[in-house]
């Protein structure tokens, strides 16, 4: 149990220390008459609207990487075409292939190349296209949850939630860190525990501990919890 308590104790320390430096500065500032009270209702509403939008954007992928890749692809193709057509425009010999020859070969297509090569090329291009297309069409939800907070918008990576729940499960089951694995997805938390050989585990205690931690965390959307206790134990843990 001491496991769960120590982070608490440690966490509360900087709280006492540091905001004070901020508070001290503000009392000097805030006492001046006529200083604007932060957060009049109008400003608060505007913040809420802006924050909702930010939170919505934060839980979705921005696809910035894919966009860069797509742009690079288009730019490379354009630069090559530009080179060849510029060479053609100033009447120089082509670099790789003359646009006219290229067009003539394209019109004659099934002939001139082996069907195997053509099919493979088509397959690769279609696959790349499919990846781009699915990336654009699928929702692209990031594995993150939102937490309630009166002042700020809070997004938490599922990995952080998982490690917090793993700590709760570990302290409840009295096993080592390596014996617990937690997988968090949008609507489900799966806690896998491997008991120490010879020491019985009470599943409902683990479930209660994890659910209690989850209730206090209150992520949205709220996932449900499932605990799996492995049938084989670990020796010497």
């Amino acid at each position: 149990m001491s496991h769960a308590q120590t982070p608490h104790a440690r966490r509360s320390h900087p709280d006492r220390g540091h905001p004070d430096t901020l508070h001290a500065a503000d009392t000097a500032d805030g006492d001046t008459p006529g200083a604007p009270a932060p957060g009049t209702s109008d400003v608060g509403d505007r913040i809420d609207v802006g924050l909702q939008r930010i939170l919505k954007r934060e839980t979705r992928s921005s696809r910035a990487g894919m966009a860069g890749l797509a742009a690079a692809l288009v730019i490379a193709a354009c630069v090559y075409a530009l080179l060849e057509s510029a060479l053609r425009a100033i009447g120089q010999p082509p670099w790789l292939i003359d646009p006219q020859t290229a067009a003539e070969r394209l019109t004659a297509l099934p002939g001139g190349t082996s069907p195997l090569l053509l099919g493979a090329l088509g397959g690769v291009v279609a696959m790349v296209g499919l990846i781009f297309f699915l990336n654009a069409v699928l929702p692209g939800r990031k594995s993150r949850h939102l937490l309630q907070d009166p002042r700020a918008g809070v997004v938490v990576d599922d990995e952080v939630i998982a490690s917090a729940l793993a700590r709760a499960a570990r302290t409840a089951a009295n096993v080592t860190q390596e014996q617990v694995m937690v997988v968090v997805s949008q609507r489900l938390v799966v806690v896998n525990v491997r008991p120490t050989s010879g020491v019985p585990l009470r599943e409902e205690r683990i479930l209660a501990a994890v659910e209690d931690e989850l209730q206090r965390m209150a992520p949205s959307p709220m996932p449900s919890v499932r605990v799996n206790v492995a049938t084989s134990g670990v020796i010497g843990a």
Partner: protein, 203 residues
């Protein structure tokens, strides 16, 4: 939190994906179905003849080449510029000031408060916490208004809601100092630094 154009990204990536998909399927059909090959030869040869006829018509006076080549080159240059502009839109939106006001009634002149103030105050307040592996604070512009993004990487096993409450209290203290409420996003994330660090526990 930044100004990456999500919708534009989806649309452009989708268009490119569909085009590549269509080309790929056409190539595969050409390789496997003879009837498609015959149709393609007829259709594309017609198109090519038409293009050749056009380029005959648009010859530059006194020279062999058609000005269509120059037009095509110009179109390509425009396309490249557009693509570069698109890439430069990704991840933009960093701001320098968290407060910028002009109110002569109360104080003569403008009041500007740099984003560095908030960034460094929050960073310093969080620096000594043993349960954090990393803190990044940045100012962004959201809908034309400045906002703060606080990204913390807690060590394994730290309860995110307690951490969020603590940071939120720091932000409220900052509100009093600055005198304005700015939108704040707290991102509690995991990264390589937290994954390989020790869990928060008794040693």
């Amino acid at each position: 939190m930044n100004g990456t154009p999500h919708v534009l990204n989806r649309i452009l990536i989708g268009i490119l994906g569909l085009k590549l998909l269509a080309i790929g399927i056409l190539l595969m059909l050409l390789a496997t179905v003879p009837a498609v090959g015959r149709w393609w030869q007829g259709w594309s040869t017609g198109l090519w003849e038409h293009a050749k006829y056009l380029s005959e018509q648009t010859r530059i006076p006194g020279r062999e080449e058609s000005w269509l080549w120059i037009a095509a080159a110009a179109v390509l240059v425009v396309l490249i510029v557009l693509m570069v502009a698109w890439v430069s839109q990704q991840g933009k939106g960093r701001a320098n000031l968290i407060v910028s006001e002009y109110d002569d009634a109360r104080t003569p002149g403008d009041v500007n408060i740099g984003g560095n103030l908030a960034e460094q105050a929050l960073k310093a307040a969080l620096a000594e916490r043993a349960d954090l592996a990393g803190v990044t604070v940045a100012t962004y512009e959201v809908n034309g208004r400045p906002g703060l993004r606080v990204r913390v990487q807690p060590r394994q096993g730290v309860s995110p809601h307690l951490l969020a409450a603590d940071i939120s209290r720091l932000v409220e203290a900052l509100d009093l100092v600055v005198g304005r409420k700015t939108p704040v996003l707290i991102h509690i994330g995991a990264g390589a630094r937290t994954r390989f660090s020790k869990a928060e526990r008794v040693r």
